[in-house]
Symmetry: C2
Subunit: 364 residues, 2 copies
Amino acid sequence: MKFNSELDNIRTYEAGKPIELVVREFGIEPEDIVKLASNENPYGCSPKVQEAVSAIVDKMALYPDDSMYKLKEGLSRRFGVNKHEVIIGSGSDQVIEFAFHAKADSNSKVLINSITFAMYEIYARHVGAEVIRTQSREHDLDEFYALYLEHKPSMIFLCTPNNPTGESIDAESVKSFIAKIDKETLVVVDGAYMEYTHYKDSDKALMPHELIAAYENVLYLGTFSKAYGLGGMRVGYGIASRDIITALYKLRPPFNITTLSLEAASAALEDEAFVQDSIAKNFEEMERYKEFAASAGINIIESYTNFVTLCLKNDQNSSNVALTLLRQGMIVRDLSGYGLNALRVTIGKPSENDRFFELIRPLI
Amino acid sequence: MKFNSELDNIRTYEAGKPIELVVREFGIEPEDIVKLASNENPYGCSPKVQEAVSAIVDKMALYPDDSMYKLKEGLSRRFGVNKHEVIIGSGSDQVIEFAFHAKADSNSKVLINSITFAMYEIYARHVGAEVIRTQSREHDLDEFYALYLEHKPSMIFLCTPNNPTGESIDAESVKSFIAKIDKETLVVVDGAYMEYTHYKDSDKALMPHELIAAYENVLYLGTFSKAYGLGGMRVGYGIASRDIITALYKLRPPFNITTLSLEAASAALEDEAFVQDSIAKNFEEMERYKEFAASAGINIIESYTNFVTLCLKNDQNSSNVALTLLRQGMIVRDLSGYGLNALRVTIGKPSENDRFFELIRPLI
């Protein structure tokens, strides 16, 4: 059977066994596996969220409230925006997908950073759009602007703080940049890890209500998957002008968030203390990664997130190091696929980080 | 800001307050609201499913197993198909969405029944495909074939049993029909309510392994939202030849099913007795609807599902009747939007059905 030609450019994802199963085949017991690969919150979510979800497991037969009334109320309160300026997606990924289908097609170009969240390119391929990348490893807004003038992209993605490098752009620079972009170009500001940046350096933190008040062509993205500790529940959101949200809403499938996920995210917004506490612990532990990197003589990219990117030396190979760690039950992310001889390591609990230092020290 | 032209033809969905809130504004207490509108399983899901989900609420921070190893194992065992012949979606809706993006575009036509599941047309609009509808209220495969010859659609949808009418096509007729369709046309057999049909009349039940063994161009859809009592958890599936599944997989966003939903669906497959018991109760209660319709002198479409479609008389107006019921806390589906002077009523628990008969009797 023939399929649409866009599919030719999409690599088929053939899911294999879960990595935990692979690791177990190396003879590692489940309790000895440490996964520092997906930037999940190692402290989980608030116990209050667990209670709220447990209380409604007898409601799983009921379709979700498709108006998402309670969660939208919570988000609009949290961010000081109108409910009509919010859309909720199955992870912020899904909002990215809506944006591509609303704004890009096979005649479009999309401008992204050289190294950034992989889903931008994947969704670009879904609609057949051409991806233009910068050269700089970290977001260089002058380079972005030059490429914008040259290519006139229909969408620009700024991932700040950036995944998988952890760097963050200065907030004022982002605003000056957006001010120079024409209003027909959608600027997506992906703040999946913004809660961490906000804690570490408020000069780099972007506030969605400020962005959308000033720029009608900005879409801000946030998620419950990182600081809020709900990676398994698939809830993200977009905040933008009502025009943009109205367009994205046209592409939203009904019931895109589960009944339990809506409850979990709503409850998570009610326990900000838990989130702030886990962020504080994250940055305490990050100091240990910095010390480790200094003692090992390797470079670490200044991180505004819950992970660190360790840039290995030339005589080290990140793929080999990651594989050796894997065989010992330590799962981290090898960044060779991004053209970096580096490892991305989620900052875990103290004991998990101890184990990481113990295992990697002989390897580098 | 300008958006892609396909969006012009999509009606914006502006979600209002949840219907339960509206009903409460009529002065109805929450415990007095009966919702027989969404074809949820009134007996919920198995207690074993609730236990399995409760046991992992401390795992909500962890991303789902994106290979969906356990659930795919369960489905392939359940249906006697290979794991490579299965794709799992956020409801079978999402598999429909993948199919449209894989197989249709603005040059395509899609053939569907005059009255059928509303999402087929909505996703067709997303890709700009033209929708061709039959005239007959119930699936008439001769008419389907004539329209197929005339229009050469790239996709054909057979919803059996059909939503929102409840009718079911004879299984052998479906197979003879598919045999006449060229292999480049994707025939989607939507069996969202097939478990009910299977119980009531095995001559009308379609088995996915038989379909895909015989026809390389068939995509069978199933869901956990109906008989399995997991409407709130958003898990559906597609079963087809490996070629089709490979194409659809290219369009699947990672982590499209939550961690708790994967667990719930896997556990639900382990308690078939619960499901069969709730289906048996459904058909016992359906008899009462038939008796009611006979006594009221109204027509009921023979149903192979967990709902009934009551066709009102000419001097009755389904919208008015539905509104009067709503004001008394009884939520059912008015089918006037489908061009039918009819109500679709989910078969509830005995007490819920009692209440429905009590409230509707004075109205018709």
